[in-house]
C-alpha cells in the first residue's frame, strides 16, 4: 500500500515534466493528444533565437559568479562556525538563515530599494549579489553536517607538527571537506540558474534564462516554450546529477583508500 502511494507521489512530481518534454518533440504546434510524431523543429528555432541564447549565456555567467562567491563566503563561514560555540554560533546561524526564511518577494523589493537608494544601476552584477544572498543559506546547510563532524584537532595537530596555517588547510582540511564543498558549489549554481522571483526585481537590460522564459510565457503560447523549458530544466537537472555523482565518486574512492590502508 505505502509503496504504491510513494510511486504515485513520484509520478505526480514527474508527470508534468514528462508531458512538457514529450510535447517539445511534437511535430505539430498542438499541445494535445493524439500525438502526431516527433520532430526537432522547436529546438532548431530556439537555438537560432538570439534572445534565448544570450540569456542562457547570462545565466551561466551569473551562476558561475554566484557559485564562486558563495563558495568562498560559505566555506569561510562554515570553518569559522566550527570554531565558535554557544550564543555567537546560534545567532550567526539564525542570521545566515534569514534570507530563505522570508519570501523571495520581500528580498527582491528590499534589494531594489537599496540599489536605487545607493544609486547602483541594475545589471547582472546586482543579480549576482541577490543570488549570493539567496544561495548562501543553502550552501551553509549543505556543508553544515560535514563541517560539524570535522575534527579541529586534526588541523591543530598539523600546526603543532610545524605546518603553516596555509599548509594545514591545504594538506589536511581541504582534502576532507573538499568534495562536500564541491557539491554545495554545484547546488549554488543550480539554484542561481533557476532563480526567478528575486531576479525579476533586480535585473537590468540583460536578462537571465528564467526571465526570458517568463516573457515567452506572457506572450502567446508557442511551442518554442516547450523546447526552451526542456533545455532549461535538463541543464539544471544535469548539473545537479553531475554534482551528486562527483560527491558520490569522491566519497567512494576515499572509503576504498581507507579500506586499503586498514588491510595493509
Amino acid at each position: 500500500m505505502l509503496r504504491i502511494y510513494v510511486w504515485l507521489y513520484v509520478a505526480f512530481l514527474y508527470a508534468p515534466i514528462a508531458i512538457i518534454t514529450l510535447f517539445s518533440f511534437h511535430s505539430s504546434p498542438s499541445l494535445t493528444f493524439p500525438f502526431e510524431g516527433f520532430s526537432l523543429r522547436w529546438y532548431a528555432r530556439i537555438f537560432t533565437n538570439t534572445t534565448f541564447m544570450d540569456s542562457l549565456w547570462n545565466s551561466i555567467l551569473v551562476g558561475t559568479a554566484t557559485a564562486a562567491t558563495t563558495t568562498v563566503l560559505g566555506s569561510l563561514t562554515a570553518l569559522g562556525l566550527a570554531r565558535l560555540k554557544g550564543r555567537v554560533q546560534t545567532l550567526f546561524g539564525l542570521l545566515s538563515f534569514g534570507p530563505v526564511a522570508l519570501p523571495g518577494l520581500f528580498l527582491g523589493i528590499a534589494l531594489v530599494m537599496l540599489f536605487s537608494q545607493i544609486g547602483l544601476a541594475r545589471s547582472l552584477f546586482t543579480v549576482t549579489i541577490a543570488h549570493v544572498l539567496f544561495t548562501l543559506p543553502f550552501f551553509l546547510e549543505a556543508v553544515r553536517s560535514r563541517i560539524e563532524y570535522f575534527d579541529l584537532s586534526l588541523e591543530e595537530a598539523a600546526r603543532d607538527l610545524g605546518a603553516t596555517p596555509a599548509q594545514a588547510f591545504r594538506l589536511v582540511t581541504l582534502p576532507i571537506i573538499g568534495p562536500t564543498i564541491g557539491g554545495a558549489a554545484i547546488l549554488s549554481f543550480a539554484l542561481s540558474f533557476d532563480e526567478f522571483i528575486i531576479t525579476v526585481f533586480v535585473s537590468g537590460n540583460n536578462t537571465t534564462l528564467p526571465l526570458t522564459i517568463w516573457s515567452m510565457m506572457r506572450r502567446a503560447v508557442s511551442p518554442d516554450i516547450n523546447a526552451a523549458s526542456v533545455l532549461s530544466l535538463s541543464l539544471s537537472i544535469g548539473i545537479i546529477l553531475l554534482g551528486g555523482l562527483l560527491v558520490w565518486y569522491q566519497r567512494r574512492s576515499a572509503l576504498n583508500a581507507r579500506a586499503k590502508d586498514i588491510q595493509e
Binding site: 569561510l76 563561514t77 569559522g80 542570521l95 522570508l102 530599494m113 523549458s229
Partner: protein, 290 residues
C-alpha cells in the same frame, strides 16, 4: 585555555566576510524597506517622511483583506497538503528503504525549474489543455471545464507540486531523528498505528513539522508568480499587488507597508499553528525537552 580563545578569534575572523555581506545586503535593505514604509511617494518620487498613511490606506481598503486572505489561503492549503502528502513518503524513505535512491529521485525534481512547472500546469489545465481535450474526446464532457485554469485551485495545485520535494526534504531530516527503536517500543507496548503516529512520532519530530509547514506556507503565501499566471481574477493576492508597486511605475512606500503587513499576518499564522499543535497534544510535553 589559550588555544580555545585563539580558536574563537580565528572563528570570528572567518565568519566576518559573510557577516558583512549579510549586513549590507540583508539587514540594511530590510531596515531600509521598513523605514521607507513610512515615507510618501509623489509622482513616482520618494519623499522621506514619518507617516502612517501607507498603513492606514492598506488597512482601510476592504480589497486588501480579500487579497491577503487569498494569499493566506494559498499558503495554508499548500502547506497542509504538502506536509500531509509528504509525510507518508518521508516515513517510507526513512524506515522502509535502505539506499537513498528514491530520496534523490524526488529531490532532483526540485531542480526542474519553478517557471517550467507553472507552464506545464498551464498546458495541462487549460481549456484547450490536456485534461479538457482528453475528457472531451472521451465524450465525458461537452464543454471544457474553465475553472481548472485561472482559479485558486490551479494556483494551489501548482504550488503543492512545486513545494512537495522541499517539504519532503525537511520532513525526512526531521524523521531521521526519531529512532526506529522508539516506534518499535511503542508498538510492543500495545500502541495502535494511530497512537504511534500521534503520541510518539509527531511529538518527537514536532520542530521538523513546524519547519516544513511554515517554510511551505511562507514561500507559497508570499509567491506572486503562480497566482499571477494561473490564479485568474479570483486568485489575486497581496503578493501580486506588492510586486506591481515595485515594477511598473508604482508607489514603493505603499508596497513596502503592505509587505510588512503581510509579514505580520505570517507571524500570526505561526503563533496560531504552534498553539494549535499544543492544543491537539501533538507538541512534546515536559518529558523530552532537548
Amino acid at each position: 585555555m589559550l588555544k580555545g580563545s585563539r580558536r574563537e578569534a580565528m572563528g570570528l575572523a572567518l565568519v566576518t566576510p559573510s557577516f558583512l555581506f549579510l549586513l549590507v545586503f540583508f539587514i540594511v535593505p530590510a531596515a531600509l524597506l521598513f523605514v521607507c514604509s513610512f515615507w510618501l511617494a509623489h509622482s513616482f518620487r520618494l519623499i522621506p517622511a514619518f507617516s502612517f498613511d501607507n498603513y492606514s490606506r492598506a488597512l482601510s481598503a476592504s480589497g486588501f483583506y480579500v487579497l491577503t486572505w487569498n494569499a493566506l489561503k494559498n499558503g495554508l492549503c499548500t502547506a497542509a497538503f504538502t506536509v500531509a502528502l509528504s509525510f507518508p513518503t518521508a516515513y517510507f524513505i526513512v524506515y522502509r528503504t535502505r539506499g537513498n535512491l528514491l530520496f534523490y529521485l524526488i529531490l532532483v525534481s526540485w531542480f526542474s525549474s519553478y517557471l517550467v512547472r507553472i507552464y506545464a500546469w498551464r498546458v495541462i489545465l487549460g481549456s484547450n489543455g490536456l485534461i479538457n481535450t482528453t475528457l472531451m474526446q472521451l465524450g465525458l464532457i461537452d464543454h471544457p471545464i474553465e475553472v481548472l485554469l485561472f482559479s485558486p485551485f490551479a494556483t494551489i495545485l501548482t504550488l503543492i507540486h512545486i513545494m512537495l520535494p522541499f517539504g519532503l526534504l525537511l520532513l525526512v531530516s526531521a524523521l531521521r531523528d526519531v529512532r526506529r527503536e522508539y516506534i518499535e517500543a511503542a508498538r510492543d507496548l500495545g500502541a495502535s498505528p494511530f497512537e504511534v503516529l500521534t503520541r510518539v512520532m509527531l511529538p518527537m519530530c514536532y520542530k521538523g513539522i513546524i519547519g516544513a509547514f511554515m517554510f511551505t506556507f511562507v514561500i507559497s503565501a508570499g509567491d506572486f508568480v503562480t497566482p499571477q499566471l494561473l490564479g485568474g481574477r479570483e486568485g489575486m493576492t497581496t503578493g501580486i499587488l506588492i510586486a506591481n508597486q515595485f515594477r511598473s511605475s508604482g508607489n514603493w512606500p505603499f508596497g513596502a507597508a503592505m509587505a510588512f503587513l503581510l509579514l505580520a499576518a505570517f507571524l500570526l499564522v505561526y503563533f496560531v499553528f504552534v498553539r494549535l499543535l499544543h492544543l491537539l497534544r501533538l507538541a512534546p510535553g515536559r518529558r523530552f525537552h532537548d
